[in-house]
Amino acid sequence: MGMNKDHYFISSYVHIRKSQIYKNGKLLYKSEANTTVSSFLKESYKELPINYPKFHKMDDLCKMGILSSSILLMDEDYSDDTGLVLSNASSSYNTDLKHQQTIQAMVSPAVFVYTLPNIVLGEISIKFGLKSENAFFIENEFNARLLYDYTSVLIDNNKAESVVCGWIEVKNDEYDVFLCLVTKKGAIPFSIENLKKLYLFENE
């Protein structure tokens, strides 16, 4: 395992929680009246410069992935050799449930294609033209060590020049997103402690 402590850096990070979107700890957008995850996603898309009509065809998890990665990578320096290491606890729960409901009547191919959590990796890769390694892990809770280890190994072994790693959890109308861009240059050392600390960042 590559354990180059503090060798890499977190050059930017994003939080999406409780109808609020933060980049690098600063509030970027706050939705006032939204109660459901889908209305929050729709409003956020309209308010932020994302401009990607395919967004509307995606399921909640992929929309959340596109929204968070778009904000994370906005104005950042990254190449198509940027890996993705994402995780969550509920996999593609909302879509699995929707699919289960549609099988009673007639199956929808457009719903079925999103019944896997790693589809979000593909959607992000397509939007940003990424051609690097990616992985999606299902964990009970945010696992800083896993993200640290896997991300470090990818960069150590030249499998990726930089990595977007983090947590994209969507279940019913609850969501919790924390993504960070890990590169060879930056202000915050990439470490398990810093990942934990940044993940736990409390929004006002």
Binding site: P53, H56, K57, M106, V107, S108, P109, A110, V113
Partner: protein
């Protein structure tokens, strides 16, 4: 006759989540795939489901889709002659 075309446009926008398009913006002869509306292969499957669900038309040969899903006009003509509901 035009009602069917408008109805089709409405269902396509709704079923395929083409949120940024309106009925008025889809031309009856505009191609649905490629340069036109830019639909993809999953959308094609969704259109097959739509034909069955809304008009009782069951396509047995997927290749038929290529001839039917050309434009709104082509789809409407096919539905008019083959619909069972």
């Amino acid at each position: 006759m035009n009602d069917l075309r408008t109805e089709l446009k409405k269902s396509i926008i709704e079923q395929l989540n083409l949120e940024e398009l309106s009925v008025e913006e889809i031309d009856n002869d505009e191609s649905l795939f490629g340069d036109g509306l830019g639909l993809d292969s999953i959308d094609a499957l969704e259109l097959i489901v739509l034909l069955e669900k809304d008009y009782g038309i069951k396509l047995t040969d997927p290749d038929q889709g290529k001839e039917i899903f050309v434009s709104i006009n082509k789809m409407a003509t096919y539905i008019e002659t083959h619909r069972t509901k």
